[in-house]
Symmetry: C2
Subunit: 210 residues, 2 copies
Amino acid sequence: MAPKSAERGKATRRQLLDAAVALVPEVGWGGVTTRLVAERAGVAPGVVHYHFASVTDLLVAAGLGFTGSLLDQMAAELSGQPGIGEGVDWLLGELSRYSGTDPASLVVVEMFLAATRLPDLRERLGDQIGRFRSTVASWLAERGYHGDAVAAAAMLAASIDGIMMHRALDPGLDPASLAAPLRAMFGLGPAEPAPPAVPPAEDIRRRRDS
Amino acid sequence: MAPKSAERGKATRRQLLDAAVALVPEVGWGGVTTRLVAERAGVAPGVVHYHFASVTDLLVAAGLGFTGSLLDQMAAELSGQPGIGEGVDWLLGELSRYSGTDPASLVVVEMFLAATRLPDLRERLGDQIGRFRSTVASWLAERGYHGDAVAAAAMLAASIDGIMMHRALDPGLDPASLAAPLRAMFGLGPAEPAPPAVPPAEDIRRRRDS
DNA sequence: GTACTGTTTGGACAGTTGCCCAAGTCATCT
DNA sequence: AGATGACTTGGGCAACTGTCCAAACAGTAC
């Protein structure tokens, strides 16, 4: 055999996947072409169809890889939060990193849309999000959330994407200002028990303007 | 002059806009082509570039027309609701009509995405949604919502789109099941005392904060 | 009738697309 | 040495794209 060639092939495949993920936010899901990916990955155009049956196949694989690790990481970090209040606050802080126009946000929305036209993608992306929701629901239940934890997790997940999308149109929409209604959704008080005047140093990492 | 011709022109223009709106959910924003629109509208391909400078121009005009009337209608109907509880419930009922895979939902998401790449569209769509949020905020304030009505309106608007998107991936996600957390967001009690035939056995006796 | 206007037609144009494939490279195996 | 296998190359193909345009088609005004 030729293990050296196989290694190189794996590397090329990875480069194609990375190039595809990077290209989706720039030109849109439908704007990603064979030659564009090849050029970005630094390979000849023919390579794309050697590693993937079609550009759509490449995009599906690349997209699912991206959302999979993103959701896994978010679920893990959220599960590490001690209480529901801390979790919601952490989530809002995390959300401020996704402006709706940044590459990660755009990939997610593009995939939502592409999934409506690709049954295979829809099923697999739905599974990923279902797993995320389950993790969140368990986390809520373990923290003593009184109510339908599954419904609350669904609302939370939907809110994340909704806020992300709306921020794309209104950059002035500050996630921090949404803390009160979001906390109320989980039966939490309107504000942190600690006085907001002096922020607890470890919890708030960066607080921009007002 | 030729008023008869001008009339016919207006009608053709309308047909092109309608065809574009119908096509977006079917083939995607980027999949709408000159010839596709012309065929759907029942005119020759050249007509498109007589009435619009480019396909993008046509799509922007068609999309904004669609979202404009959709948002206006929703704002008007929501404003007609007597109380916040009724409004939220009405909204959830309305939301069940938008499965995330229906034409209207798809047009909205496609426009969000297109707006991130078309500054002109972003600004105008942002204005439309800003107006919607203002209307909702006023409606909340008039109903005695205690808290930041603007933030609550933003969360509500974002939730609508978030739920819509998530329903596209999980058709089993019932908007009605989200009533409890959504109502809690507005400091409302668990549920209305008017359940359908099948009683929602799972009861949530969640008290709000102070 | 002729002149003028706004609208419509269908084809032409240069460019891009996805996918394919014969020929090539290169390390490994017999 | 030759054969094997995985991978890469660059060009070729038919199909499609947005945009343009000379010509035809109305109706109105003179």
